[in-house]
């Protein structure tokens, strides 16, 4: 799902019922009912940091956060009034080792502050609880300093994460969330670009043709879905963790959320 910061602000300020935001938030009702019935123990949350915990002094391509608790960052307008995020260090450390042994040279980080990239998806799914009902393993992907990892690499990482989670001793219910996108451009004279056709094809492909999506080159995202649309590679980590055949539980797409096309897809394993 997309992680537009203004969506978090709308929730925090209680503006979700106004004309601008109502159609977007209406699409989350199904999602919130779905997750209330099958709330996982842990979410592996694939997101990107927006020059918050990581600046140009440290740009990991893939980083897994193994800490116990993640503070909500002040991104320059004060911290979001949402609870801190609890980690799942036992699982995270296990996944770290298993995935590196499986060929992915992940960077490990500890208790990093988390920004809207991680907290807005939690708001979308859980609204405004006093405490988040899940523990989270943040998996940060660099999509800001070009090039991000390829779609193929993200998709393969998802598969490695699946194997790692399955080999963990404890019996946990784990979901993988991919965030970012959809089409949007935040910079320069072309800012505001939206490509609903691209987004619709991408959502279809997530269900039926993830391997085809994984082959999309970076230039195609940047040219056709906006320079920041390249965040969509992060969805492929999530898709890689699922079975080849999946069931589409819910799809929601809305333009605009601030500068961005908001996309949201829930998939379950199985035909």
């Amino acid at each position: 799902m997309s992680h537009v910061p203004a969506v978090g602000a709308a929730s925090d300020l209680g503006n979700t019922g106004d004309d601008y935001w109502k159609p977007l938030f209406a699409g989350f009702e199904v999602s919130r009912k779905w997750i209330a019935e099958r709330c996982p123990d842990v979410v592996v949350l694939v997101y990107n940091d927006h020059a918050t915990a990581f600046d140009l002094n440290l740009v990991p391509t893939f980083a897994i956060a193994c800490g116990e608790e993640f503070e909500i960052a002040d991104e320059g307008w004060g911290r979001r009034p949402v609870p801190n995020v609890r980690g799942a260090p036992d699982l995270a450390w296990h996944v770290r080792q298993a995935v590196i042994e499986d060929g992915f040279d992940l960077t490990s980080v500890g208790n990093v502050p988390v920004d809207h990239g991680l907290t807005v998806p939690l708001t979308v799914m859980f609204d405004r609880p006093d405490a988040w009902p899940v523990r989270v393993v943040p998996l940060a992907v660099n999509v800001i300093v070009y090039p991000p990892p390829s779609g193929q690499r993200c998709y393969a990482l998802g598969k490695a994460i699946r194997r790692a989670v399955e080999s963990f001793d404890e019996d946990l219910d784990v979901q993988v969330w991919g965030t970012g996108g959809m089409s949007h451009q935040l910079q320069g004279p072309r800012a505001g670009l939206i490509n609903s056709e691209f987004d619709a094809r991408f959502l279809d492909g997530m269900v039926h043709d993830p391997e085809g999506l994984a082959r999309i080159p970076h230039i195609e995202y940047m040219r056709d879905a906006g320079s920041e649309g390249i965040e969509l590679v992060m969805w492929l980590v999530m898709r890689g963790a699922l079975d080849a055949r999946v069931r589409e539980v819910h799809r929601h797409y809305h333009v605009p959320a601030s500068n961005t096309a908001f996309g949201h897809l829930i998939l379950e394993n199985g035909p």
Binding site: A51, I144, Y146, Q185, R190, I194
Partner: protein, 151 residues
């Protein structure tokens, strides 16, 4: 005869002027877009780290109280400092600033990301917002520089 194939491969790579990186830069013909690649990150390193410093309230105060003095603490080019003083975001993108870093300056100025984005398009804020409500900027005419009048 030594096998020189490896050198031929190397010399076939395109080195753009002033660049340390071999790259085909196939993304340089996207109109109105500067890809924040290694060359830009190299050029904009200190400009972006200056923006990063604005995450701290005491730095925001100090910057707003005396912008030139604060900017002089960063080893930036005169062009970069001047563009920051003028809030010329498009010039800054060309000088290696990245938009997520620039957003720290938008917020320091009490502007939203939407206002910052609108400023870069040259559109009044209300017109930009209306464009987004109508479905955003269309792709047609905006894929290649030549079709957008030079981008």
């Amino acid at each position: 005869m030594p096998d020189s194939r490896i050198f031929r491969v190397a010399s076939d790579m395109h080195y753009s002027a002033g660049s340390l990186m071999p790259s085909d830069k196939s993304y340089s013909d996207i109109p109105g877009t500067i890809v924040f690649d290694s060359d830009m990150a190299r050029r904009g390193f200190h400009a972006n780290q200056f923006c990063m410093s604005l995450m701290r309230p005491e730095n925001r105060e100090r910057f707003l109280a005396d912008e030139s003095t604060y900017l002089d603490e960063w080893p930036m080019s005169a062009a970069q400092k001047d563009a920051f003083l003028r809030r010329d975001y498009n010039a800054l993108l060309g000088l290696g600033a990245n938009v997520y870093y620039l957003s720290k300056l938008f917020f320091t100025d009490g502007q939203s990301f939407e206002q910052g984005a609108a400023a870069m398009t040259g559109m009044p804020r209300e017109a930009y917002r209306a464009m987004m409500l109508a479905g955003g900027r269309p792709l047609a005419g905006n894929r290649y520089r030549e079709e957008s009048g030079g981008g």
